[in-house]
Symmetry: C2
Subunit: 368 residues, 2 copies
């Protein structure tokens, strides 16, 4: 599989949903496989909150492959011998695209809190402009899970003729208060950490001294990504025998897991990016510029596949089901397919249990 | 209804489960109604994590009544014209009983992190000693929700002949990793707050300057007490129009709610108490000093009523069901009754939707 990673620079202003402007801006993206002659084999992958453009393959020296490596590759469910796959790092993310830690135009000052609020529509709009530059004006499919699913749905509504197939997994039509509440913990922990310094922190200092608020925020995220059953199976009530049960700071296995993943997160993610991307997720509501969700979904002409997971406690299956029902109400029954995967893994099933749903993705891609 | 509030002092050592000793110690408690001649009308109420001995009635000048006022009073479900109700503030709690903020014996130094870890068994043992001093050696019933339900179950196992009826609501036989994870957010946020000062903080300073870590911890608690449905109904996706949707720090209603309750919590609860009581909850496992849960529950001779709530996402109904099934397995089918209340309110249903289950409590109390 041929992998290329590129940074594309844009000097034209990006007009944002908020009324603000981003100028200039850059987008980092990665491609897998080869674009065919008539450019009809493009599959766009949209990543989630902490994901990146590195969706598949392994960089030299890396222990871990891209976040959806089990799905994307030669003869894999999203088969790169057939498809040319593109994954773009979203605006606001710390992996190369323009983010709050980028330097403002012709200055040596980082944006910090002066970075404009970005929405899922803005993220999608920027990707659309990138694809245009690459000469890709239509794609075979757009696929995404969680926040990636929001992007996929947003593409289907706002650029109806752009994709033939749209697949949204473990996502929603509008972020519900429950998900906003989990994000709130993180947003509060980040901004109240003295290391945050009103967004004027030095990234080198953070990588040296850590950033507890971001670690605590990540822990809150992890609770929403797993399910009671997975936690029960993974950790039970085991605890660190070294500390003992009666040590105030002795740790249960689940605490050790949250600690490890929370504090490790600080080494590879950025607090301001977390603030801005969770804000984009919180704002997401497919109906917000329309009279109703029905009104919004009537734009869709792509074939829409919705894959929900029964144990997802962050974006409940009924939220995905609501999209299907709404599509049926507006006479688009033939365009929509709702699939509920039986899984007690939790929200992260879309990343972890790919064998349970991969064939549905392949089938949707092969549907004419 | 006659209400009395008292502080009882104990000079004898309390031998704790951890092997440590608490000496001396004090317990604050409140009673409602009158003790009858043969002391056969006592009902013990056990409070939850942030509760107190003030379970019912209204203190002069107070806006709010005790935390279970809808349940306890003259002609109420726990009828104080019949029963003499006692509620004891648990060890470690900041409402008058000995806690980490108490001064160590004959010193002007607070315990801080030198306070010993307390378990549910210790909490129950201390109450048992208090009741003995009051000349109460048997009670009609013990009732508690959440952590109060753990105490009730613990009484039933460790002092089998003490209570005739034991009622546990919205609780469990052992705290599961999911609940430990929610506590972890709070414990991490508290200890990493610079205001914590390794437990040597000045309480006056905290009430003046606040304590973000405790506020964030409370927010984490609130997510686990509510359910997606309640949040949807209470807050929907409403946001503060004053801020607008595109303000990075603009707030959704659910965020305002968490903010208000989180930061307000700091005014009436103590960070060290939160650390110690969540530890007691985390440690709780009714089977831990036995070969199995069956082995542990075989001690029970009281009539055990288990009231679970279908929408409880903190202590899942199946955890309560497991107690029933276990009791049946050890031949105690006649002693146990499991009731599942249909509610989508979440864990807090035991505090909020008392009209849905009050008659079950009354019936259990009146059962001969």
């Amino acid at each position: 599989m041929k992998i290329t990673t590129k940074l594309e620079k844009f000097t034209n202003a990006l007009y944002l949903e908020s009324g603000r402007i981003l100028e200039p801006y850059e987008l980092m993206y990665e491609t897998y496989g080869e674009l065919n002659h008539d450019k009809s084999n493009v599959v766009v992958i949209c990543h989630a909150l902490t994901g990146s453009h590195h969706a598949a393959g392994r960089y030299e020296g890396d222990r871990k492959a891209g976040w959806w490596d089990s799905m994307i590759g030669d003869n894999k469910p999203i088969d790169t011998t057939k498809y040319f796959v593109i994954c773009v790092n979203v605006l606001g993310s710390p992996f190369g695209s323009t983010s709050p830690m980028s330097f403002k135009h012709q200055s040596n000052k980082r944006y910090g809190l002066e970075f404009p609020v970005i929405t899922i529509s803005d993220i999608v709009k920027a990707q659309r402009i990138l694809f245009d530059r690459l000469g890709i004006h239509k794609v075979h499919a757009i696929i995404g899970g969680s926040m990636g699913g929001m992007q996929a749905l947003c593409f289907a509504i706002e650029y109806p003729n752009f994709a033939k197939h749209v697949i949204s997994l473990a996502s929603t039509y509008a972020t519900q208060p429950w998900a906003i509440a989990f994000n709130k913990i993180a947003r509060e922990a980040i901004t109240k950490d003295p290391a945050f310094k009103n967004g004027q922190y030095d990234p080198d200092e953070i990588s040296q001294n850590g950033f507890n608020g971001l670690a605590i925020g990540r822990m809150s995220g992890f609770i929403s990504y797993l399910s009671p059953k997975t936690m029960q199976r993974k950790f039970s009530r085991n605890y660190d025998e070294k500390d003992g049960l009666y040590d105030l700071f002795g740790k249960f296995q689940v605490e050790k897991y949250l600690n490890y993943n929370g504090y490790n997160f600080v080494n590879w993610f950025d607090p301001l990016s977390y603030l801005y991307i969770t804000k984009a997720i919180n704002i997401f509501d497919a109906s917000r510029n329309y009279d109703s969700l029905e009104d919004s979904l009537s734009n869709i002409v792509a074939k829409l596949t919705l894959i929900a997971f029964s144990g997802d406690l962050l974006f409940l299956p009924k939220e995905m089901k609501e999209i299907e029902e709404c599509m049926i109400r507006v006479g688009k029954k033939d365009l929509v397919r709702y699939i509920e995967i039986d899984s007690d893994y939790g929200h992260d099933a879309f990343l972890v249990e790919t064998d349970k749903f991969a064939h549905h993705v392949t089938n949707a891609l092969e549907d004419s």
